[in-house]
Symmetry: D2
Subunit: 246 residues, 4 copies
């Protein structure tokens, strides 16, 4: 099997100014994610918002099987044209998409979901416990039945998303909330995974279980080389002879 081609996209605004995010992720949050995926044998590039074409010209998209997405401060700075292009590549082109943490509010995720993708949140460094709900799902492979994130941002229900095709993880938060933290979707030819753990002020993207889940999600979302390409539109000639009904 040929190498999986992954593009790790990051807004990369938090980490470019002095502060906690830069202290924790001096090369950006995309760096540890990309490093882990490379260590899994994937062919990985990174791309960021402030690069030309947001780092995602057609030449890069054409060479991408799975795109991972992290955004937070600047969702609105992503061009609508790029969002439309990614949506089309997911739905019609079988591009895989892995949306991370605050990416829940990205244009591309909201566009693909059709809902507000709103949620509750609180940032006091509380404990999160991630539970495997669907042990048969490929994204859960090798994940312990539960793991703990010592200090996390709380994301809580009601999370305004369509019911996932498979609910893979649910998180418990110390302050009293629950959250559907791992959700698998299919949209058209493409597969989408949303995974909530990860935040710019906590070292969550260095935690081995989190990196393991992201790698699983990338593998799962990758298109089959021979995924069917449906034909749409006018088909004037019926497959079967049609007799009059009058």
């Amino acid at each position: 099997m040929s190498q999986l081609r992954v593009t790790v996209w990051n807004e990369y605004r938090h980490e470019t100014h002095p502060g906690i995010p830069a202290d924790i992720y001096p090369q950006g949050m995309h760096a540890p994610i990309a490093e882990h995926l490379r260590a899994q044998g994937m062919n990985v590039r990174t791309a960021t918002l402030d690069q030309p074409d947001h780092g995602l010209p057609d030449s890069v998209l054409d060479d991408t099987d799975v795109l991972t997405w992290w955004g937070h401060l600047a969702h609105d700075d992503v061009s609508d044209a790029l969002v439309a292009k990614i949506q089309e590549r997911v739905v019609l082109g079988a591009l895989g998409l892995v949306v991370l943490h605050s990416g829940h509010f990205s244009k591309i995720f909201k566009t693909l979901m059709g809902t507000t993708c709103n949620l509750k949140w609180r940032e006091i460094g509380e404990r999160e416990r991630v539970w495997v709900i669907d042990p048969s799902h490929p994204v859960a492979a090798g994940v312990p039945e539960t793991f703990e994130i010592p200090r996390s941002e709380m994301y809580g229900e009601r999370f305004d998303i369509p019911q996932p095709t498979s609910l893979v993880f649910v998180s418990w938060f110390q302050g009293g909330e629950v959250f559907r933290s791992g959700c698998a979707y299919e949209r058209g030819r493409g597969k989408i995974f949303y995974f909530s753990p990860g935040h710019e002020t906590y070292p969550i993207y260095y935690q081995k279980e989190v990196l393991h889940v992201i790698a699983n999600a990338v593998r799962w979302a990758a298109p089959a080389p021979d995924a069917p390409a449906p034909v749409y539109g006018h088909v004037p000639v019926p497959l079967e002879h049609v007799t009059s009904n009058e």
Copy 2:
């Protein structure tokens, strides 16, 4: 229980010019639909594209529990602002939405689905047989296990929609295709039903089974008066005391 308030929206462009649609539906396709729903005891108004505000000013939307939607020629003439408003009212406000036939390509349906909503089609007046797939679903109540539409436009798979929460009907077409013709979705607080039978050049909106399904779909999509209204956003104070994890 108070009367269900329904707004039957129709593009109403086909029927306003001499031709087959005007011959079959002299008052527009919305007329027989509205008449049937009124006969069911519902409080029904109609609205059309070329009225001011497309017939859907806030005063009308505020007074609507369920909106039915038929469009074909002029999807692009519907204002983006209205589409955004309806989406918000479905997802956040629990407005019910029943999308009919070529409404599959309406802005509002595509926006709520997040996919292209494309399909195959052919118009040679062939037979369609609608089969009940989920006899437990409220929209199937009183529907025979199968019924025939003598002359129909073929809509065929692949239909590019998210997998429905419940697949209620699947249609057989004489020329060799199948189609998921009755699909139930929940999006946020709102419920959406797509039902494909119905076309401007066939008298399908006079057929009793079709009208019966539309009435069922309207009843099912209606919001509960006391549907929960989720709270979103920042919740600084946890419900539970949070102890340090360090």
Copy 3:
């Protein structure tokens, strides 16, 4: 609409001996549930394990639209013949079924689910918080977005059930677990709701939110009077003329 006919079934073994269950539920756990449903205008009878035919002779089942089920100590004492009869009435007859708390391990629930229905549990009187996950679902109507059960038995994931058609509630437990506490299924013509809160040593079946959910579940699970009755088996004559393909 005619009155909904409900049979509240209870194992009724805990409460018939001196002890905490008898102190809390002197007439059995079925008593407050039945009382609440009656107050909602339903036509309610109760039935218990140690009655003749477990309280469910055909004459009772024939007169029941929705059956609620609570069992714990004596699942094995329920006759296989009754279980098969209830399964058939749900799947083929559209009988509604509401399974409560430790009923997750009842023969009828396991038979309808096809899985072990196993889970984690702990009984230390910890807090449970029930969250509404699907605000569009009829069983959530009138339920606050979250409510607290002050002292509850912990039921935790992994809960070995098929993915529900709609996941309506998820519970948070003080000790660190989460649980899919409200699950809606359709099986054949019938609808099934599982709701986990409720225990013999806590007064949970007097809590107004819990009773409200049970009443909603009963209403939702009730069959439509005209639910389609599929025809199965050999259909020698095709609907359409079949031509040779050779």
Copy 4:
């Protein structure tokens, strides 16, 4: 990756007597299926009803990743103990199961589904057209958007199964019926695929598209080597410190 271990189980009663099945499948229907899977590089054995232990002693099951199942005349001759064992291995052990054609009425499929699995049928050698409904699903990889089975037994809706996690194929029949012919389920740790094409009196198990789908289904149903193994039962010690709520 180590070789996938597949056991192709066949009732093997039709083909052991003179007649059409024996003419078409002189070594049994399991022969062409096993041959195709072997050609895909899988480690394949076959097993049949009339072997000792129905060909499935523990030593064979222990050495099986995915089991395919074909039965028709003699579902009742399969021992209940074996059915319970297979169910447990699917749900708790992540054994993959691929159920073929008339296997819809096998004890193991009915037990895992919890419904009657009944359907309509007719055997006049009519045309079946299989349509891909979910092009993102691994079982659809490399399958044309539609393919034709020249002479097939009709299986028609209503098919009394739980709604599948993913509906991958829907079939059209010449005589007027439709059928959910490819259905993916997860049950516990295991994955199950039902695929309806295939019959003892037609050479369907020699058709390349059908064999291709079966091979895809086997690969998809195979457990991940590191699929999570949930822990069930009593967990007396909470993960988190529990404070009194009184």
